[in-house]
Amino acid sequence: MALALAPSLVTARDLQQHTLPVLPSFANLVPHGVVQRGTVVSCHGPAAVSLAMGFVAGPSRDGAWVGVAGFPELGLAAAAELGVSLERMVAVVEPASGSFTRERWADVVATLIDGFDTVVLGGALTRLSAADARRLRARAQSRGAVVVAVDLPAFEGDIRLTAERCEWSGLGAGHGVASQRWVRVECSGRRVPAVRRGQVCLP
């Protein structure tokens, strides 16, 4: 009897506290149309960065802060166009004179996970080992942060978004200008029961 009752104890408010919203264009792609706190999302393929920014745009518009680690080459104008609120974005970069050690990066990411709802990890974090990634995943789960890793093999995503094909329009042979891109995205991973596919316009 207790088992049968258990699911109804989860109220709508609980669900709201344990999830973060995503933009409508991603809602059909991820299970239940929301992202659960504590999830690790990994983005791959030729549109990995735009996918990551589009994914965090949902929580960011909802008031979440976005921490960015090891991603100095991120194009901020593109992030803003994809819907990320730049007023709630903070980045940690390595000094020009030298790079952080593996332990320092692990500390930085752990601090970001403690303080921010969403954390984006960039190319400089390839130095983190699989063991670091496991520890950080556990931390994200206990603190309720969503970690979005861009092209990092160590972070195997609970949700894995892969850009399979990009279709640019507006561009010709020597004329025009790229104006719109449709990306065919495959969504797989441990928290995705069946592989889903969909088209996302980025932007």
């Binding site: 901020l76 000094p95 010709g172």
Partner: protein, 529 residues
């Protein structure tokens, strides 16, 4: 107006300037987050104003000494002043470093009247500052004011006046409403609105019916009416707190470090604020008491009419304990710390801004930023700021988080006025390489593609290959492309002039690059990744 207590306020203008040990006639400005928060008289004469950007202040006054703001330093330097006044009067209320208040009834009678008491206090304070190497002459000196009610007394201090009993309202009437912002700490936009409504003096505000102000402005209007009338800014809802509200901790063994005490103080403040909030109350006067093993005590009352949240309580505990620890006479560790709400009032609530206002997430993020700065350094923790320009990645730049106010992002993200003719239209590239990656672009006959001075292409590009970096040496076939879009920038300046042409190159894998050819060399400046 018999219920209004008569208070004396000791006030030092621009206290942070005194705390950085400004010399008389020296031009000094104290800067927080790139904005001037305090300046000396000499700097003011040259046009430096509170709220200016650092650069603007420096342009007005080229030899101004710029010092970073440090509230802890301000509080520590104020401690000798507090100690000196505490010799004369039994009970002090502290607000911010630079201001203290006390009830005049006893002291005035003892020193023979308000005027001679004010003179005496002024003299004692100047003496104490002199002993500690501080001088207030750079900011125009310490002043003491006496009047009925806290607001009137604070204003009287600014005018160095002793207002006779019962004449606070008459004293305030001709004064400008801007004092509500400067002295009473009311929101600047509210005070500005009063001015636009034609209420320029406090007397005009006091002359309106209270109900009218209440119906138009709510609790804020009532508060403004009360203080403008010369009544105490202590609201009628203020009362003595319910019994057994104070929070205390005993340490065994005694604590030697003030950091540990402040850490415990935060937990205590959390507990106190949560307990009061459960009853719908907010603390406006807090007594902080610390006692050592040998019975030495530090006891201070901190007053803030808008209410003391946890962060303000912790800040004040730190000020008090650091100031106390500075005193070398302490012989033992602290054994007892006690927070006692002396005065509480009903929490009328603060209406959060329609757009924004700080949420719990913001609070956590601010703390995380402070930790990250401590962990990695000030130059490593960055936030976006609008920049402007026509090249990829010029619209926004990263700036150090410590150089801006994190909770006021509107200004730093306001787009820089364009237009930027020649900028590549949106969408913008998601990855901007700085510096750009060297590359090689060949035509169908494997000859390098060139752009002439008139922007004519030697042949359509066919392949692109990166010549350095991790993924060098893979040749990508170009399926579609656009360009050249020439830019001839700053041709009037030989050192900064740039002539270049931009292309968009789409490869078979669906990767779109923004390529630049400058001086015959190809670079991949950005990728629409």
């Amino acid at each position: 107006m018999s219920g209004v207590p008569r208070l004396a306020v000791v006030w030092c203008p621009q206290w942070p300037v005194v705390a950085v040990q400004a010399q008389p006639n020296e031009s000094v400005a104290v800067v927080h987050a790139n904005r001037v928060v305090a300046h000396s008289v000499a700097a003011g004469a040259e046009g430096v104003r509170v709220g200016q950007r650092r650069r603007e202040a420096q342009s007005r006054s080229p030899f101004v000494r710029i010092e970073p703001a440090d509230r802890l330093r301000d509080a520590r330097c104020f401690e000798p002043v507090v100690a000196a006044v505490a010799q004369l009067v039994p009970r002090l209320d502290l607000d911010e470093p630079g201001t203290l208040a006390f009830l005049t009834r006893g002291p005035s009678r003892y020193f023979g009247g308000d005027a001679s008491m004010a003179e005496r206090v002024c003299h004692v304070v100047e003496q104490a500052m002199l002993e500690h190497g501080l001088s207030s002459s750079a900011v125009g000196g310490i002043s003491v004011g006496v009047a009925d009610g806290r607001f009137a007394a604070s204003v009287a201090a600014r005018y160095r006046r002793v207002v006779p009993v019962g004449e606070s309202a008459a004293f305030l009437a001709p004064l400008p409403v801007s004092l509500l912002d400067e002295v009473a700490g009311m929101p600047a936009d509210f005070v500005h609105l009063l001015g636009r409504l034609g209420l320029h003096t406090l007397g005009q505000v006091a002359g309106l019916p209270r109900q009218r102000l209440e119906s138009r402005f709510g609790a804020q209007g009532v508060f403004a009416h009360r203080v403008a009338r010369g009544a105490d800014d202590r609201l009628p809802t203020v009362h003595d707190p319910p019994a057994a509200r104070s929070v205390q901790r005993t340490f065994e063994p005694p604590v030697q470090h003030s950091d540990t005490l402040v850490f415990v103080g935060r937990q205590m403040a959390d507990e106190l604020v949560a307990g009061l909030a459960a009853d719908g109350l907010v603390c406006t006067q807090l007594l902080v008491l610390a006692e050592t093993e040998h019975g030495e005590r530090s006891e201070r009352i901190w007053q803030r009419s808008t209410g003391l949240p946890v962060s303000a309580m912790v800040e004040r505990i730190r000020w008090q304990l650091d100031g106390w620890a500075l005193d070398d006479t302490l012989t033992a560790g602290v054994m007892r710390l006690c927070l006692d709400p002396v005065e509480v009032r009903v929490d009328t609530g603060v209406q959060a801004g329609f757009w924004g206002g700080r949420s719990q997430a913001d609070e956590w993020a601010m703390r995380a930023v402070a930790r990250l700065v401590a962990l990695t350094g000030e130059q490593q923790v960055l936030v976006p700021a609008a920049h402007g320009g026509r090249h990829a990645g010029d619209a926004y730049r990263w700036v150090p988080a410590v150089s801006v106010e994190l909770d006021q992002p509107r200004e730093r993200l306001r787009p820089i006025d364009g237009p930027w003719p020649g900028a590549v239209p949106s969408p913008s590239p998601a990855v901007v390489h700085r510096p750009p990656l060297p590359a090689e672009v060949l035509d169908a006959q494997h000859r390098p593609v060139r752009v002439s001075g008139r922007g004519v292409l030697s042949a359509p590009p066919a392949t692109v290959r990166r010549t350095a970096g991790v993924r060098a040496d893979t040749t990508h076939t170009i399926t579609q492309w656009a360009g050249p879009w020439p830019v001839d920038e700053r041709w009037w300046d030989t050192a900064k002039a740039r002539r270049l042409a931009r292309f968009q190159l789409l490869t078979t894998e669906g990767r779109l690059w923004l390529a630049v050819v400058e001086g015959g060399t190809w670079w991949l400046a950005a990728e629409y990744c």
